[in-house]
């Protein structure tokens, strides 16, 4: 019996015996928000403070209770039959539950996150997977996977995709890696990824390129983490020079998110270093800019208020203050001002060489 099934059964058994004794059944899960995390500087990720959200079975909670138990039953089923369901599929499964069905996927996602947190596990272990694409990979890496039908080992050479790329699957737990690369370069936009891939930047600098396509998915984060641990190579992150790039993309990759704090331990990349566009770069490279948007400003202010990662890092505080003062942001692609290949020929080599320009 897997750990997951054991936990599901324990929880259900507990509720069952409470009902038999006509006592109030309860489930509890950690509160999932930035308020309930602290930054663990030693291991470099957000961990839970331990605030618990208790849900007692009453007339008010009876519906959510039913839905949670239904989801647990579905999960048990999936794990037992070695099957998976995407979050979207799980939402559609609920349409069979009559009155207990979910009206929106947001509701079913929230219940799923609760179960995850309740068991302190990740959804993949419950048989649920994300809907989104996990990210693209190109460069000096061989991924060792299994043929889903025969179970035979498959070696995937990420240098052999030409102008295309390898797609990160939603469950990366059983992948193995062979690589001689010197570092991983995680890139915010697909456009920049394609430019670097086209110029075979991975060959000239002996690295692995990963396109995150915005905020990295859990699978993408876990993939980069495992890769960097296995191969023991550094990770550099290349994003736009704006609060979204700093906080939502880089911070999430590096230390995890408030919402999934119960699994951040595995879904973070403490080794990551920021080599994306900094406020200083905007000045030094005389980059074309856009004004900061309302949401950008709010994001920075909220960060100062309740993001433990910012509280811990003086250099980031300075960078964020600088960008607020400038009131401007610059995109990765803005480097093209100095020529389409400027990023390959000048920017990246210069940044990688100058350790002082990195942000932690």
């Amino acid at each position: 019996m897997t750990d997951t099934i054991k936990k599901i059964k324990e929880t259900a058994q507990n509720i069952f015996s409470k009902i038999k004794k006509k006592q109030k059944a309860e489930i509890s899960a950690p509160v999932r928000s930035l308020n309930n995390v602290i930054y663990n500087p030693k291991d470099g990720y957000f961990e839970l403070k331990g605030k618990l959200k208790k849900r007692t079975l009453t007339a008010n909670t009876v519906k959510t209770f039913a839905q949670t138990l239904r989801f647990m039953a579905l999960s048990k089923n999936l794990v037992e039959t070695d099957d998976i369901a995407t979050k979207r599929e799980a939402y559609y499964v609920s349409k069979n539950w009559g009155e207990a069905r979910f009206k929106e996927q947001a509701e079913s996602d929230a219940v799923m996150d609760d179960i995850e947190a309740m068991f302190g596990t990740n959804r993949e272990q419950l048989g649920f997977i994300a809907d989104e694409h996990g990210g693209s990979v190109a460069g000096e890496l061989i991924v060792i996977d299994k043929d889903p039908n025969t179970g035979k080992e498959l070696k995937i050479d990420c240098t052999k995709f030409g102008s295309g790329s390898y797609s990160i699957p939603s469950d990366v737990e059983n992948l193995k890696f062979e690589t001689k690369a010197k570092f991983v370069l995680a890139i915010e936009t697909n456009g920049m990824f394609e430019r670097l891939n086209k110029h075979s930047y991975w060959k000239s600098s002996s690295c692995i390129l990963v396109s995150m396509g915005g905020v990295p998915t859990r699978a993408c984060r876990r993939f980069i983490r495992r890769l960097s641990d296995d191969a023991n190579i550094p990770v550099f992150v290349f994003t736009d020079g704006d609060p979204y790039g700093f906080l939502n993309i880089y911070r999430t990759l590096k230390v995890g998110s408030g919402n999934a704090a119960h699994i951040n331990e595995f879904f973070c990349v403490p080794k990551a270093r920021f080599i994306g566009i900094t406020p200083q770069d905007i000045i030094d490279y005389k980059l074309p800019t856009h004004p900061l948007k309302e949401v950008d400003i709010k994001r920075v202010k909220d960060g100062f208020k309740n993001d433990p990662f910012i509280h811990e890092h003086k250099l980031w505080q300075k960078a964020l203050k600088d960008i607020l003062k400038m009131g401007k942001r610059a995109e990765q692609q803005a480097l093209a001002k100095h020529g389409l290949n400027f990023v390959v020929s000048n920017y990246l080599p210069e940044k990688l060489k100058d350790e002082k320009s990195w942000l932690e």
Binding site: I8, K9, A12, Q13, I15, F16, I19, K20, K22, Q23, K24, L57, T58, A59, N60, V62, K63, F65, A66, Q67, L69, R70, M72, A73, K76, N77, W97, G98, E99, A100
Partner: protein, 574 residues
């Protein structure tokens, strides 16, 4: 010149001069005009201004005639402490002519008074009395007789009996509108199989309609506000309707009070000074007014600068004016309020329950208050929900001294008090300063020794701030009770929804548990029961709040259905 008054003009002592000029002044226009100037009898005046008395149109004439006769009957019965039983009959004579018959079991009228009461305007016992009663001026019934005579030329026929041992007196009467006195066309004794009572038959030009301002509505509302009355009503078409009294309990007898100094006007004061039997002005104040004793009489006179021993007959106009000032300056006790006989919560509720099958009733009886020296009391009742339609403005019923007010709603102080109240706080819809909307019937009753109407037709209450304030307080109280009920109802509804929830989702919880734990099927029922019990355990007992149409035992379907047959006529067509 500006300060000159007529008194300062010098006197013309030249008698000769007057004589001299007579020859030339005899052609003065004023002599010619004088030929057209003569006394106008009060009857002539009202003949030309009959709208002032409620005879503006044929439809209203029918209602006013019946109303005046019934008001008189009820007042007489109450004064004689008889439980009233009143017959109202309307006969359609064709050509817009109707015969109205109103018969009561009252004390009857003494033979020689009959012509004056029915055929002399401003004759009666009520004008000089400060007492809570329906009639006030002594105009009503004789105005009806006059209207009948003007439109049909027929006399009014009156039969009255005062004792079982005496014969009934029969009169046929017309009003001499020149002299404001009765013309007796016929007078004889008749046998009448009744202990006592009065019956009047009047032929008049009229229109019979149904709807909001109809005789039907008047009869219905009269039954609501007078639960001790039995009414036998025969409309021109259809079956006789019998409305049996809801209580055998007679209303407490209203006490007559003397006027209070605060309520008296200069003209009235002068008149009272002239007719008083008191020897001194001090004893005049003490004897002819309420709430004036030795001390307060002296206070008034001191404030007026008038000597205690002054004879009332010697009080000049100027002195009377000073006396008015003195009254204003003096601190007097408010008049006694035990002369007001409100209906009371219980009777009011009985009345409204008879007519409306609602889910919630609330009543308020305010303690009496005073406006301009006149005691008055406000009562309000509210019925909500059930069979009351909810998609339009609330139904407001106004009553004054137990008489329904069917006309002039817009000009009435009651209406202002209702529209100025914020009903949204009580759970009804309302756009600013309008009648609120919702399934509500609101009854407002003002009882007073002198109800201030806006006109002699007695259709709307005048806007005295003290009265509006009291009405508002009464409305607010029933409003608060309403909102308590509406809130409770909503809570119960929410609670029912939650309990419903429990029933819906329990099977899902058990299903899921079974899927995970795979317990034997036979345990399911017990488990569902256990879970259901533990969930409902904490929720306590629920009051039943649904409307039960059979719960209202007072409900009188016959009464409620009066005038409901043709609703399309409901709006006032004038």
């Amino acid at each position: 010149m500006t300060n000159t008054t007529l008194e300062d003009f010098s006197e013309n002592k030249d008698e000769k001069g007057a004589k001299k000029s007579k020859t030339t002044s005899s052609n003065a226009k004023a002599y010619e005009m004088a030929k057209g100037q003569r006394e106008i009898s009060i009857a002539e005046f009202f003949e030309k201004n009959r709208h002032l008395l409620g005879f503006d149109n044929k439809r209203k004439a029918l209602l006013t005639t019946i109303k005046e006769a019934v008001d008189n009957s009820l007042d007489a019965c109450e004064e004689a402490e008889i439980l009233p039983e009143i017959i109202v009959e309307i006969l359609d004579l064709g050509n817009d002519k109707f015969r109205v018959i109103v018969e009561d079991n009252g004390p009857g009228i003494v033979e020689k008074q009959i012509p004056n009461i029915f055929a002399k305007l401003l004759y009666g016992s009520k004008f000089h009395k400060l007492k809570m009663q329906r009639g006030q001026q002594g105009i009503g019934i004789s105005a009806a007789v006059m209207y009948a005579q003007l439109t049909t030329g027929k006399p009014a026929k009156i039969l009255s009996k005062i004792h079982p041992d005496e014969p009934a007196q029969y009169y046929e009467l017309k009003i001499n509108t020149q002299k404001n006195k009765a013309d007796i066309l016929r007078h004889e004794k008749k046998e009448w199989d009744k202990e006592s009572g009065t019956r009047i038959e009047i032929d008049l030009e009229a229109n019979y309609n149904k709807g909001a301002q109809s005789v039907d509505e008047y009869i219905k509302q009269t039954a609501i506000i007078n639960p001790h009355v039995t009414l036998i009503y025969q409309p021109p078409k259809g079956e006789q309707i019998l409305l049996v009294r809801a209580t055998e309990q007679k209303p407490k007898l209203a006490q007559e009070i003397k006027p209070h100094p605060y309520g008296v006007e200069l003209g009235m004061l002068i008149k009272m000074l002239r007719v008083t039997r008191a020897k001194t002005i001090k004893s005049f104040l003490k004897e002819d007014f309420s709430r004036v004793g030795d001390k307060s009489a002296e206070e008034i006179l001191e404030n007026s600068g008038i000597l205690n021993k002054t004879k009332p007959s010697q009080v000049s106009r100027d002195m009377a004016e000073k006396l008015m000032e003195g009254i204003k300056k003096s601190k007097l006790m408010m008049p006694p309020t035990d002369c007001i006989v409100p209906l009371g919560d219980e009777m009011l509720e009985k009345g409204i329950k008879k007519e409306y099958n609602a889910e919630f009733y609330t009543t308020v009886s305010r303690t009496p208050n005073v406006y301009r020296g006149n005691p008055f009391a406000i009562e309000a009742a509210l019925a909500y929900g059930g069979e009351i339609p909810g998609d339009k403005a609330i139904n407001l019923m106004r009553f004054a001294n137990r008489v329904p007010l069917l006309y002039q709603q817009g000009a009435c102080a009651v209406t202002d008090a209702v529209t100025q109240t914020n009903w949204k706080g009580y759970g009804l819809q309302q756009s600013r300063n309008n009648m609120p909307q919702g399934p509500v019937v609101l009854v407002v009753h003002i009882a007073s020794v002198w109800v201030p109407f806006t006109s002699e037709a007695k259709e709307a209450i005048a806007h005295y701030p003290e009265i509006i304030k009291e009405i508002k307080l009464a409305i607010q109280e029933v409003g608060r009770n309403l909102s308590k009920y509406v809130n409770k109802k909503r809570k119960v509804k929410d609670e029912l929804k939650k309990r419903n929830y429990i029933e819906i989702y329990i099977p899902h919880i058990i299903d899921a548990l079974k899927e995970i734990l795979n317990f034997p099927e036979h345990e399911r029922a017990d488990l569902e029961k256990d879970l259901g019990e533990s969930l409902e355990q904490t929720r306590g007992k629920l009051d039943r709040m649904e409307f039960d149409p059979t719960k209202n035992e007072e409900y009188d379907k016959d009464l409620a259905n009066i005038g409901k047959e043709d609703k399309e006529n409901k709006e006032d067509k004038e």
